[in-house]
Symmetry: C2
Subunit: 328 residues, 2 copies
């Protein structure tokens, strides 16, 4: 059995009641400086630390946030993970990391989050069925969709301004060329891919610029293969807008391999501004997602809801910025 020191042991050594020990370690409780010192000294001597589980049991709350991710292979998400962990740590929360291999979050993952009675949940690039999301609502566990938006407006989501971003990207390209423009989508059941497509196509159609869409999957390999397919079907297009950076990198590599000059023959634009976009091998023009701001929005909302649950829902959009490099 693991050796364990509890509040009673400390109380005895310090010559106070167990309640006083508890008060010293519980934020917000009041004790005189004198008892505090006695307790702290005794705790130090015994190596006491409050049992987090007993605490959770009695307060019916935890300091754990569930973070659900799928595409950790895409460098955008490690960045997101890092920011969330750092930010929550500042507020005294820890992150329970849940990785789903499947697109849709599996039941066992939900079970885990519910069993641990997490204070809040963040869903990034995995999809979640509505009735599962409702389960969190029923348990009054605040939930945020990060970088994803649901069709129903019953849940809080934090995204980049995908629509206006993709419009601006289209306008940027339209101002320079009027040849065929291609959009390479990510997984089509994601709001990010659809919104970016929507804004892009809308502007091009209005301007009468020929436009074509290819469906891919948000991965490097997907971008690479899609670009090969595009080239195999005809001349290199005037511009390719990939729904995220990692696909755009695949596109660039495929174009190079086929001897297509970027940006002279084909311009390429991505989305996210991951670290690699600025590497000399790529110098990718892209739209920067303001991860820090997005994380702040998410954290603030969750902390607020943890403090007092309202179930308030909103689709928050944070402005990103266009980053022009040498692929355009």
């Amino acid at each position: 059995m693991k050796p364990t020191v509890n509040a009673k042991d400390v109380a005895k050594l310090a010559g106070v009641s167990q309640s006083s020990v508890s008060r010293v370690f519980f934020d917000g409780a009041k004790v005189t400086e004198k008892t505090r010192q006695k307790v702290l000294a005794a705790a130090q001597e015994l190596g006491y630390r409050p049992n987090e589980y007993a605490r959770s049991l009695i307060t019916n709350s935890t300091k754990i946030i569930g973070l659900v991710m799928k595409g950790i292979q895409n460098p955008f998400y490690p960045q997101v993970l890092k920011q969330f962990t750092t930010s929550f740590k500042k507020h005294g929360y820890s992150v329970l990391f849940v990785h789903t291999n499947n697109d849709e979050i599996q039941n066992e993952d939900i079970e885990t989050l519910l069993n641990y009675n997490v204070a809040g949940v963040i869903i990034t690039d995995a999809t979640m069925s509505l009735n599962v999301a409702e389960a969190f609502k029923k348990n009054q566990i605040p939930l945020v969709f990060f970088n994803r938006k649901l069709t129903t407006s019953n849940f809080y989501s934090v995204c980049c301004n995908n629509l206006s971003a993709s419009r601006k990207i289209a306008e940027f390209l339209a101002a320079r060329d009027d040849g065929l423009m291609v959009y390479i989508s990510g997984n089509e059941d994601t709001s990010t891919s659809r919104e970016r497509e929507h804004g892009f196509a809308e502007v091009l159609e209005r301007r009468g610029i020929p436009y074509q869409k290819y469906t891919s999957d948000f991965t490097y390999e997907g971008g690479y293969k899609t670009a090969q397919q595009i080239l195999s079907e005809g001349d290199a297009p005037t511009a390719i807008f990939a729904a995220n950076d990692i696909m755009a990198l695949g596109v660039l590599d495929a174009l190079r391999k086929q001897g297509v000059n970027v940006p002279e023959q084909t311009k390429v634009i991505g989305f996210d501004n991951i670290d690699m976009a600025s590497w000399p091998a790529y110098e990718l023009t892209t739209w920067e997602q303001p991860i820090e701001k997005m994380v702040d929005e998410t954290v603030n909302y969750l902390l607020g809801e943890i403090d007092e649950y309202t179930g308030f829902a909103q689709a928050v959009e944070v402005d990103g910025t266009f980053v022009e490099r040498s692929t355009t």
Copy 2:
């Protein structure tokens, strides 16, 4: 207050005792099929799920593994994170993700792990002072250093066969050239960087091949800048062995920018075999770290120690493989 259903509620509805409810949900306890059905039906109806914290409190154990990471920006580690999460999930464990910005794990991170009474701890690329590691030992919490080895042999560690790997890399290069060979180290206080240097230098010295070492930091930017420095100090070396892939990619980009031909003028080898190493833009020759095997070793050890704590320590080495691509 959050609505909460407990075992007593279920017992009442099912017409059994609270103990029976507990037995149904506690693996290993025995109940007749009949009571099981009654309980499950009642639980289903009420939406009951066992409170994990009450459980932890009484069993004095948890199903949480603490995973500590620093360089999540290096694509090697997301891969590691993914494998650990997947593997532990299979065994019913969840991962508490701890990210340290600093090289050395901070006290608050340790506090978190101890407060949550994690079942086990994995330290990847962060360093940990010995007395902190001892704190885990005192609490009988099994600890594994992953991809890092301590100088003292009191802790379990799982690494790739860095020494023989770097020897083989040196021999590979020595068989082809005898000009100046450069080693670019990562952070020098890491065992991985030191071991890779050691094996590499040892072989070259024995063969009388000129050898030089540059100190860097395991990042892309570090590799890039170091390569620039190398070129500014003289002719391009015959070969550069970077202590990890992400630095090697930086090296490749810097060499290209300066018009150095790879592999004709300079051969480049990395270590890890991250996804990007196989991208057409790089085609990097490298040493593949067998992440899956390393993770398995770690998980098995931890599960064993969780089952019965022995404090057994060993420096495990798993064999990786040489992956030859077009940078050599």
